[in-house]
């Protein structure tokens, strides 16, 4: 392959930038086709997501979800696994949050509940990822297909549970009862009174998400397990010769990934909704794929990409309000284009860039090459 022919900054900076630019240019074209002005759309997007306190609050609230799901996808990526099941794992993670909150909310304050909620959501998400992981590790069933199947199984199971088992009695809505104060995370507004986020539900989970991002960085680049994960992802055969058991690493990685996805439910359920309800994940698990690709699997990149997608979600809501023709579905289009250009067409601009760089370099390097001959 032609790796190494480009300077490092071009590989890590220029190519992702070109890919993103292409994605946003095509999005602009879509806006033009609908008959709206792309520049106006960008202005409303920026103002809606960053222009005032409440907008920033919502942006950060959405970003919290995306940090968790993005990290989930990225951890699996490092082991060469594609976890499309973030959606289902986050959904089932909600069960863990609800279980802890429903049991403890009227007995203890929130900070006692929180550790149980973290454990519960991570365990539930990890458990949901365990079966596909085990099947991949031991039976060779492709993890992509099984995690897709498990998303649908999760959806059916959660509807069943919420309607028939844990739903509030006498209510038509498939949801649990509302949590008491012990099952509610404090809003950032209450912790830091000098921020004014208005009614935005941005809460303590944001700090948790940032800690998780730091934790993932530590795990992947500073621990023995992380080394094993990266080795497996880079070359499974070499990993075996290095004494790494692929089956073990696959299962552990997928469970970490599932656990991170499950923790997304903390933000939605304990932080904002204060009750478990159907379809609260509403696609955030899938956004994680775009976020992880855009952030190139690095926690810093993921946090930045998550904020960008948070802006798109919040700005998109403003946009639908200001320009009714541009509905929130525009976000799906942008998401699809980002996944397409930053993921599937990752190397599209590479050959052209290599040609440009080689051409630019030739006069300078030709002389020493001739001299050493």
């Amino acid at each position: 392959m032609s790796a190494g022919q480009l300077p490092r900054w071009a590989d890590l900076g220029l190519i992702p930038l070109l890919n993103l630019t292409a994605a946003f240019l095509v999005s602009g074209l879509v806006v033009l086709i609908i008959g709206e002005n792309p520049i106006e759309v960008v202005q409303i997007l920026l103002w809606g997501s960053l222009g005032f306190g409440e907008g920033i609050g919502f942006t950060l609230f959405y970003a919290t979800n995306f940090i968790f799901t993005g990290l989930a996808v990225a951890v699996a990526f490092h082991a060469g696994l594609f976890n499309i099941g973030g959606e289902g794992q986050a959904y089932v993670g909600g069960l863990g949050v609800a279980a802890a909150c429903l049991m403890l909310d009227s007995l203890v304050p929130w900070w006692v509940t929180l550790p149980f909620v973290i454990l519960g959501s991570a365990a539930a998400g990890a458990a949901w990822a365990f079966i596909p992981a085990w099947l991949q590790a031991k039976r060779g069933s492709h993890v992509v297909i099984t995690t897709i199947m498990f998303n649908f199984i999760a959806a059916s199971m959660m509807v069943y549970l919420l309607v028939n088992v844990i739903g509030k009695e006498g209510s038509m809505q498939p949801e649990t009862r509302t949590f008491e104060d012990g099952g509610r995370l404090p809003m950032l507004n209450d912790i830091f009174p000098f921020f004014d986020f208005g009614t935005a539900p941005v809460n303590l989970s944001l700090i948790l998400a940032l800690l998780a991002a730091f934790g993932v960085w530590l795990l992947i680049w500073r621990t023995r397990l992380g080394y094993a994960i990266r080795t497996l992802g880079a070359n499974a055969t070499a990993a075996v010769y290095a004494g790494i058991s692929p089956a073990r690493i696959i299962i552990i990685t997928m469970m970490i990934s599932g656990g991170l996805a499950g923790m997304m439910a903390i933000n939605e359920i304990m932080g904002s909704q204060h009750r478990l309800l159907i379809e609260f994940v509403s696609g955030y698990g899938f956004v994680g794929i775009a976020v992880a690709l855009m952030g190139r699997g690095h926690p810093v990149g993921i946090v930045l990409a998550a904020i960008l997608f948070g802006m798109l979600y919040q700005g998109g809501a403003e946009l639908a309000f200001e320009i009714p023709a541009v509905t929130r579905d525009m976000i799906l289009v942008i998401q699809g284009l980002v996944i397409l250009f930053a993921g599937a067409l990752e190397y599209m601009f590479r050959p052209a860039l290599i040609r440009i760089f080689t051409f630019a370099r030739t006069p300078a390097s030709a002389a020493p090459a001739a001299a050493t001959k």
């Binding site: 649908f152 579905d329 799906l332 289009v333 993921g343 190397y347």
Partner: protein, 322 residues
């Protein structure tokens, strides 16, 4: 009892048709070594294209052509990413699903302003049921009469097309030169390349056939089964088709039976909603909804036979140069 059975089987046929078309679509693509989890998106895009054109022209055939064109367009994006650019095929499939979901709803709202759905189709814009010859006159014959007039007759042309596509696909795959090469390129592209046949061109043709069949599946949903496009109307059918494809171990005749089985589960679920089965009690409808996925996972786990995908599927082909 017999009447009920005929009714359930009749709706089984209706519900399996889009699954079958999408499943065969995936079969061509995956047999050539291009994994396709974008079936869902292609169906959705096709359904939207078909509904738009059928509404504007009041011609179902033009609607079908539009649906097929949209699906081929999305297929070519997938092909460009995964064959030409050797990108990750799964990532590309995910992207296509998002693009289709977003664009159909967005354009639908911008063009028709009805919350993402298209207006109800005019008269000629929809494929109508075809009554097979003598269906009415033999309806009174016991057993065979209802089977002929109730089950076999009275479907639209895409239903018959889908089921005819099964033997046709079998013939193409196992009895033609193109089929042999298609299967070979999914197992060992290097060997095909050595024989002087273009891997790229073969795979592009497979992806285009996949688009045609997905287009038919989408058109069936929008302008045959219902009268117009509804936001997210595929509702996971593309993924069920993918499950069926694995369940069928990438074989056309098996694919038909897998789709009929999953369609049957769907039909039973609709039929049994809120009713109780004697001896079992009321079975929650979610059990039937989850069953296709559960069965596929069990199959994938190798507990009922083994599903082995084409050997080169998912791996981009790179001609060695050095």
């Amino acid at each position: 009892m017999f009447e009920t059975l005929i009714l359930i089987l009749d709706s089984t046929v209706r519900l399996s048709t889009p699954l079958l078309l999408a499943c065969l679509a995936g079969l061509y693509s995956e047999r050539s070594g291009v994994v396709d989890i974008g079936l869902e998106g292609k169906m959705l895009g096709a359904a939207f294209g078909a509904a738009c054109v059928a509404y504007l022209t009041a011609n179902a055939w033009l609607g079908l052509a539009a649906g097929i064109s949209v699906a081929i367009g999305l297929s070519l994006i997938h092909g460009f990413a995964s064959i030409t650019n050797r990108g990750n095929q799964i990532v590309s499939g995910v992207a296509i699903n998002f693009l289709a979901a977003g664009l159909t709803a967005l354009l639908g709202q911008a063009w028709f302003g009805q919350g993402g759905r298209t207006p109800s189709l005019p008269d000629g814009g929809r494929f109508r049921e075809i009554t097979l010859p003598f269906a009415d006159s033999v309806a009174s014959v016991p057993v065979l009469g209802p089977i002929y007039s109730g089950l076999l007759s009275g479907h639209n042309i895409l239903v018959y097309g889908a089921f005819l596509a099964v033997p046709f696909t079998w013939w193409v795959l196992f009895r033609t030169r193109f089929g042999l090469r298609l299967r070979a390129v999914g197992e060992n592209p290097a060997a095909v390349d050595t024989a002087g046949i273009s891997v790229t061109f073969l795979r592009y043709r497979a992806v285009i056939i996949c688009g045609v069949l997905c287009g038919m599946a989408g058109a069936y949903l929008a302008i045959a089964q219902s009268s117009g496009f509804i936001k997210d109307m595929t509702a996971g059918k593309g993924f069920i088709a993918l499950a069926a494809l694995i369940f069928a171990k990438w074989k056309p005749v098996n694919a038909m039976f897998a789709c009929l089985l999953f369609g049957f589960l769907d039909a039973v679920a609709i039929r049994l909603q809120g009713q109780s089965i004697p001896g079992v009690g009321e079975v929650p409808v979610q059990v039937f909804q989850a069953l296709p996925y559960v069965l596929t996972v069990i199959l994938l786990a190798g507990f009922i036979g083994k599903a082995i995908p084409p050997k080169a599927s998912g791996i981009p082909y790179l001609k060695e140069r050095t």
